[in-house]
Amino acid sequence: MDKARSPLAMAMRRFICVRGVVPGLILLSGFVLVAIYAPLIASESALLWIDKDGWSLPLLHELFNRRSYPQRHDLLFNLLIILAPLIIISVLVLRRRLGAGFLLMSSIGMVLAIWVACQLPILPSHEGWRAPWRDRPGDAHTIRVWTAAAEQGTPPKAVFPLVPHRYDAPYEGAILKAPMRVNPVTRHRFLLGTDSIGFDVLARMVFGARISLTIGLVATAIAMGIGSILGAVSGYFGGWTDLVLQRLVEIMMCFPTFILVLVVISMFDRNIFLIMGVIGLTGWAGTARLVRGEFLSQSVRDYVLAAEALGLSRTRIMFRHILPNSMSPLLITATFMIAGSIFTESGLAFLGLGDPIAPSWGQMLNQGRENLHYAWLIYVPGLAVFLLLTSLNLIGNGLREALDPKSTS
């Protein structure tokens, strides 16, 4: 310990040393990796396809096809397949030259810019590569294609992903198949069975990770944004503003979030992004209260007085000076709030009030409740939610112990 360390590095060190953080981080990064590389894990398109015309990479063509991945967040994740390693490498290389904060902010900015770019119709949108069994009803057709190719003496060689099934279309004649049964349409196995409509459970699980993580991040970002602005205004200005905002916060705190979200969702067409927005818009009260408390204690500190004496604008003092200094409690609540919003979304989907199209874990668990005899429909999504929540809670706990000066255990 002879080397001088920055406070951030010291906090990081304390954070890593808290028990449970390392497994939590490993679990979480596992979920993130699955979410990012979902199409490479579960897709009907072959990774590599060799027939008499030569070889091709059908999946690569699919990845950026807007028609194959119509959900708004899917293209972002697909782009991250390539960008995530690049970002990590550049962070590792440039860590010494540029500050960690700069790198973090620029990566976040880049990802956001890409998300916006994904929504513009610049990426290709075509019919896409067709697996031979795409023409449903498939069984007869598939067999014809494969046997015809085999008779010609050039059976196509194909390398498929681990789960060679779609997540967004059910398979005919594959309702409630147990794990490891063969799909009559594609002659591949369902590793974790199918549900009551004929979807491959594992394929949907993999893409469900994307939904859960997006929900957690977006809803938390919205709630944190609103909460810190309102809390900052209320704590810094005080007086009437404070009184009114505190009443508002009190009302929101009294209103059970789950019921409020349920009421709002019930009134609209259910869309996964609307649900994210509503969870974010209703969950800011706790953050606002927390930030207000921080501002009350920080705004009498010397550095704030100095900034005021320098004549800096109020906005600048609030958001460039005080807010960064109250970051650590915010970070802790953010972690728990991610877990909370994931729970809320799965709960809604479990009640049958989620997005009917999105492959959400909660919705799959609801299928399990409706078909109680099929254990895999309950255990698979339930365990996934449980593990994701556990990993987030472990990390949140670690952050609290590392950053909170009060907890000394």
Binding site: R247, I251, L262, F350, L351, G368, R369, H373, A375, N393
Partner: protein, 490 residues
């Protein structure tokens, strides 16, 4: 103490009002505007619609939605101040013409027709005005709809027989006042041969009904009184909220349900406290031992376990018949089908048998976090100076823990418990849904699925009301436990 409780009660009024406002606002957001309704009815957007057909649509709409206050403005009603000139202007804008979008025109027209009784006076003036001959047709149609007052189930309860009959005959009468007209690209033109006669009838009708449609006496009170918010709140508090989809009064539906939810929630909170307080104390006193570590880790894992997962798991393992035998527990409801014919002890046994699993799922969610808080707070108290003093004094350990530390940590626990209450309150919705318990939570889910706005409103308000009562009880307990509160308020 009483001053303190009163103060808390008073603070609850704005909170409750705010919650009502939020719920009402959300309901309002959903309200399909009439033009959307009409489009749905006519099967597509932007079609050219016959005015008469649309008028029938408006009548149906009023009959269905007037009871929810959807035809009134949300918060401020300034309709009593619309002048004749403004109405003329609005009528002219509903004319077809080159470049006028049909969609927009329909919306303007239906909005005008929904303005209600305040518009009758200016419309009658327009019809009486010879200079506005081309507007007589549309004005008479608008008048017939503005004066239309469909009788709703709650009106039947409120109005006298005579008044009901009067309104019904008036409804028939206003329909006969319509002057036929065509709305073409060139504007309005009256086609009715009986036009002059009908105009005279309108004048006569207005004279006869002037007092019930007069604006000057009513418009000031209507600014705040005759709004959607007041209408809905009035119905809510008088118990007249009517669910059109279920064809029943909302509180009739809720009254069967809320007791179940209330009992279950109360029981689960009591059980959760009875488990978590001793568990937290035990864990804190044995800090560092294997027992403490096992408890802490198990509680942490349980805390991350979503209730809907554990509920479904219990259903799968304990409540389904398998090849090896019958299920241990029933999988739906709170009592067996033949519960009505059971003797009391058997009925209670049956109730316990049904209620055991839902109660345990509902309990565990709150008891995990409560125990964790209890342990953390107890640890903090046990390390504090006054505990050390008490120990130095020679007080025995049980006395220190239960008489000194526990009382102090109860203060924290009650504060946390009240905060936790609203956080955990969503839990009963999920649990009731899983085990198909006929309570408020499953009612809320049903209503949300059916998009039944009055029912959602009613059940939300009742559940939040129950929650507020819970918070109030926590506040009272807080005062009981903490002498500082009592002394501050005298």
């Amino acid at each position: 103490m009483i001053a303190y409780i009163l103060r808390r009660l008073l603070w609850m009024i704005p909170t409750f009002l705010g919650i009502l406002m939020i719920t009402f606002g959300v309901m309002r957001l959903q309200s399909n505007s009439l033009s959307q309704e009409m489009e749905k009815a006519s099967g597509g957007e932007g079609g050219v619609m016959d005015a008469k057909l649309m008028a029938t649509g408006v009548e149906n709409y009023l009959a269905r939605f007037r009871s929810t206050g959807l035809d009134l403005p949300a918060l401020v009603n300034l309709r009593g101040f619309t002048t004749k000139e403004k109405v003329v202007d609005k009528l002219r804008r509903t004319a077809r013409g080159p470049g006028v979008s049909e969609h927009r025109r329909n919306r303007l027209e239906t909005d005008l027709w929904l303005e209600g009784h305040f518009l009758v006076e200016p419309l009658a003036q327009i019809i009486a005005d010879d200079a506005l001959a081309e507007l007589h047709g549309p004005a008479s149609l608008a008048l017939s709809l503005c004066a239309y007052y469909p009788l709703n189930p709650d009106d039947l309860k409120r109005l006298s027989q005579e008044e009901q009959r009067r309104r019904q005959t008036r409804n028939f009468e206003v329909r006969s006042l319509r002057i036929d007209y065509v709305n073409t690209e060139k504007g309005f033109s009256t086609t009715d041969t009986d036009g002059a006669k009908k105009r005279a009838t309108v004048a006569e009708f207005w004279k006869r009904n002037a007092d019930s449609f007069s604006r000057s006496s009513q418009r000031w009170g209507a600014i705040l009184g005759e709004t959607g918010f007041c209408e809905v709140m009035g119905k809510l508090f008088t118990g007249n909220l009517f669910s059109v989809k279920r064809k029943e009064y909302v509180f009739n539906v809720i009254s069967d349900r809320w007791k179940v939810s209330f009992t279950i929630n109360l029981l689960s909170i009591i059980i959760a406290w009875c488990i978590s307080v001793p568990l937290g104390i035990r864990s804190a006193r044995r800090i560092g031992t294997i027992e403490d570590q096992v408890t802490t880790n198990a509680l942490f894992l349980l805390w991350s376990l979503p209730s809907f997962f554990i509920g479904t798991l219990l259903l799968h393992h304990l409540c389904t018949d398998t090849a090896s035998g019958r299920a241990w527990f029933p999988n739906r409801g709170l009592s067996s089908q033949d519960a009505l014919w059971m003797s009391t002890p058997r009925y209670l046994l049956d109730l316990a048998w049904h209620g055991f699993l839902p109660l345990s799922v509902l309990c565990y969610a709150s008891f995990t976090s409560l125990s964790r808080y209890m342990r953390a707070d107890m640890l903090e108290q046990l390390r504090s100076d006054y505990v050390r003093t008490a120990r130095a004094k020679g007080a025995d350990e049980d006395h220190v823990v239960y008489r000194h530390a526990l009382r102090n940590s109860m203060v924290t626990m009650i504060t946390l418990g009240a905060g936790l209450l609203s956080e955990l309150f969503g839990g009963f919705v999920i649990v009731e849904y899983i085990f198909s318990i006929p309570g408020l939570g499953s009612l809320l889910v049903e209503a949300a699925r059916e998009q039944d706005a009055p029912l959602i409103m009613g059940s939300t308000v009742i559940s939040v009301g129950l929650l507020l009562v819970g918070i109030l009880i926590a506040d009272v307990l807080y005062a009981v436990v903490d002498p500082r509160v009592r002394s501050r308020y005298g």
